[in-house]
């Protein structure tokens, strides 16, 4: 592994160990306060972990322990960080902000400005080149900040929610730009959007409460999520429980029948996952071919594309607006969620 990070910060309940293969991009997903920004700060050298060790291509970033106290300053790490806020230098124009990285690497002023203009063009912000950060809108500042991080041309690129504040035109633009830039480059990208993970990353890490709860190739994690958070990201309903002969029994006693491709050992921990689109809603218990049916109290209805997403606690069903109107669904109502066993995937947790 060309990058290896192992770090613990007691005050934030943070304890993560991760690695990055050459040319690999990893997406870090996780709820607010999970420690995503903390992880990037540790790699960039802005935060000193209590203990741990970090390495890039054999260069030690930090090695902090009872006996060791090695520390490489941020500017020697070859990392560039796009922080969660744009933090553009207020006294420099947008152009000079972007030229800052090349200039610091020793590129002469004119050449650095040329590079800066190139990256500004890539994020469609050339016409903002001479503006001061104080005269930019939120999304404009974010684009310039992205250009600044990219212009630094680092060995490891660290991006904290790069698509924040972007409009619906700029976000796909930037996503395409990043896909090009990140090809063959090591990067860690924090995001709340699975699309970013799908398009930009080779691997995802799910962080929860300062620990890694799931990790693997993007498709694998998002198609067979083991954590509720990853399931939420993938847009799947997830029920964790113990494996039974028939399927999965949740702690509340619900039984889920489903499909599995590996033999399951009853008694072991497992999960059942199924998409909301596979869930039908009935007002009374109806016995039919689907083997999974359970009573729920509706908590919420909201539009979801052309459909209505009906939520009942952690579970969701997608139905047509017409069906919703026919049934007279409303929050607070009792109803039955019904899922065909064929639509439920069961796998060990």
């Amino acid at each position: 592994m060309s990058v290896r990070i192992d770090a613990a910060i007691a005050a934030r309940g943070f304890d993560v160990s991760m690695s990055l293969a050459p040319g690999e991009t990893v997406a870090v997903l996780g709820p607010n306060g999970a420690g995503k920004s903390t992880l990037l700060s540790v790699i960039a050298g802005l935060l000193r972990p209590d203990t741990g060790r970090g390495e890039v291509d054999g260069k030690v970033l930090f090695d902090l322990g009872p006996a060791t106290n090695t520390w490489t300053a941020p500017h020697r790490r070859g990392t560039a960080l796009l922080a969660q806020e744009p933090l553009l230098f207020p006294h420099l124009s947008a152009l000079d902000n972007v030229a800052f990285g090349p200039r610091s690497a020793g590129v002469p002023r004119a050449a650095a400005r040329e590079t800066a203009r190139h990256w500004l063009a890539e994020v469609e912000a050339v016409d903002l080149a001479s503006r001061r950060p104080g005269e930019l809108s939120g999304g404009q500042a974010q684009r310039v900040a992205v250009a600044r991080a990219l212009a630094a041309d680092p060995e490891v690129l660290l991006l904290d929610e790069p698509m924040a504040a972007l409009d619906i035109h700029a976000a796909p633009l930037l996503r395409r730009l990043l896909r090009r830039v990140l090809a063959g480059r090591r990067a860690v990208i924090v995001t709340h959007d699975v699309l970013d993970a799908y398009m930009l990353a080779d691997r995802v890490i799910v962080l929860e409460e300062g620990r890694i709860t799931e990790e693997g190739p993007v498709r694998e994690v998002l198609q067979r999520p083991r954590s509720r958070f990853a399931a939420g990201l993938a847009g799947l309903n997830l029920v964790a429980g113990t494996v039974t002969a028939a399927g999965i029994r949740s702690p509340e006693g619900l039984e889920f029948a489903g499909q599995h491709d590996a033999p399951l050992v009853p008694g072991q921990a497992g999960v059942a996952a199924f998409p909301p689109s596979a869930v039908s809603v009935f007002l009374s218990e109806a016995h039919g071919s689907p083997r999974n049916s359970f009573r729920v109290r509706l908590t919420d209805l909201e539009p979801h594309g052309d459909q209505i997403r009906v939520r009942a606690g952690e579970l969701a069903a997608d139905i047509t607006p017409a069906a919703s109107a026919d049934l007279g669904l409303a929050p607070g109502l009792e109803a039955y969620f019904v899922v065909k066993a064929a639509a439920v995937s069961i796998y060990p947790a």
Partner: protein
């Protein structure tokens, strides 16, 4: 457009007016007392002009020295983390509280012929005391704390977020200092420099004790005023108006464009926007 938010309560203006009067009335009282017929010859006399020239040169030199020594001190106090930081801060402030005459004696004990360093300097053929160099040293000694205190405050309130960003973009500490830290605290540095220049310009006690009072060599304008007072107090007061005028000019020049100009006429809109640029709009992101 102009920023709509002012936010200074009305009653604050009343107190501010009282404060301003407290400073302005005594100045007005001096001006009222000046015998203008005598003023011009007095101010343009050779001894006055020599003293003024010396004052300006030495104050400029000591301001430079204050910047050279004070900026690093402020940086170390604001950003560094080391044992004895608090103690160092207390000590650096001491020249403020030491009566200047005692400060002058302390300098004599250090750089004088019999002083701590003076003996070694003497051997090296350098004699500091009672020279123009001594004036500069005395002024630097009393003025240094001003620069350090105001700059340290500015550094602390600016925070180090932008410096951290610059470092992650690959900038070495020296580059960060030159291209981020100093430009960001420029207003603080400027007001610190103005304060030290003003303090140097007005410095009297330490200079008299450490450098003596020789016309053209060590007799700065405040010393000239002091001597003048021995014979004619009113003339001394008049002469000090010269000092005041110089100070107003220097301060006025260094605080050029201190904030958004509140243009009111037509076209004021564009002007306010351009001027307002360094200070971000209230609803804007950059601090």
């Amino acid at each position: 457009m102009r920023h709509g938010y002012q936010g200074v309560p009305r009653w604050i203006y009343v107190l501010a007016a009282a404060g301003a009067l407290f400073v302005l009335l005594p100045l007005a009282a001096i001006v009222a007392k000046v015998n203008w017929a005598e003023f011009l010859p007095l101010v343009t006399s050779e001894s006055s002009l020599t003293a003024l020239g010396l004052s300006l040169r030495t104050s400029a030199a000591s301001t430079v020295l204050c910047i050279v020594l004070g900026v690093p001190l402020a940086l170390v106090l604001a950003r560094g983390q080391f044992r004895g930081q608090r103690l160092l801060r207390s000590f650096v402030l001491l020249p403020l509280v030491l009566p200047p005459v005692v400060g002058g004696i302390a300098l004599l004990y250090t750089f004088g012929r019999q002083g701590l360093l003076g003996r070694s300097l003497e051997l090296a053929g350098i004699q500091v005391a009672f020279s123009t160099t001594a004036v500069v040293l005395a002024q630097t000694f009393v003025a240094l704390p001003f620069l350090v205190v105001s700059l340290e405050g500015a550094l602390r309130s600016a925070g180090s977020r932008y410096e951290a960003v610059a470092a992650t973009l690959g900038a070495r500490p020296t580059t960060v200092l030159r291209r981020v830290t100093l430009p960001l605290v420029l207003p603080g540095l400027a007001s610190g420099a103005v304060l030290s220049f003003a303090r140097s310009l007005g410095e009297f006690g330490a200079t008299l004790t450490f450098a003596g009072s020789l016309q053209g060599v060590t007799r700065t304008l405040p010393l000239e005023i002091y001597l003048q007072r021995e014979t004619d107090a009113d003339a001394a007061v008049a002469l000090s108006l010269l000092l005041v005028a110089v100070a107003v000019a220097v301060v006025g020049l260094s605080y050029r464009r201190p904030g958004a100009a509140g243009g009111r006429g037509p076209g004021g809109a564009e002007r306010a926007t351009r001027d307002g640029a360094p200070e971000p709009a209230p609803e804007r992101a950059a601090p």
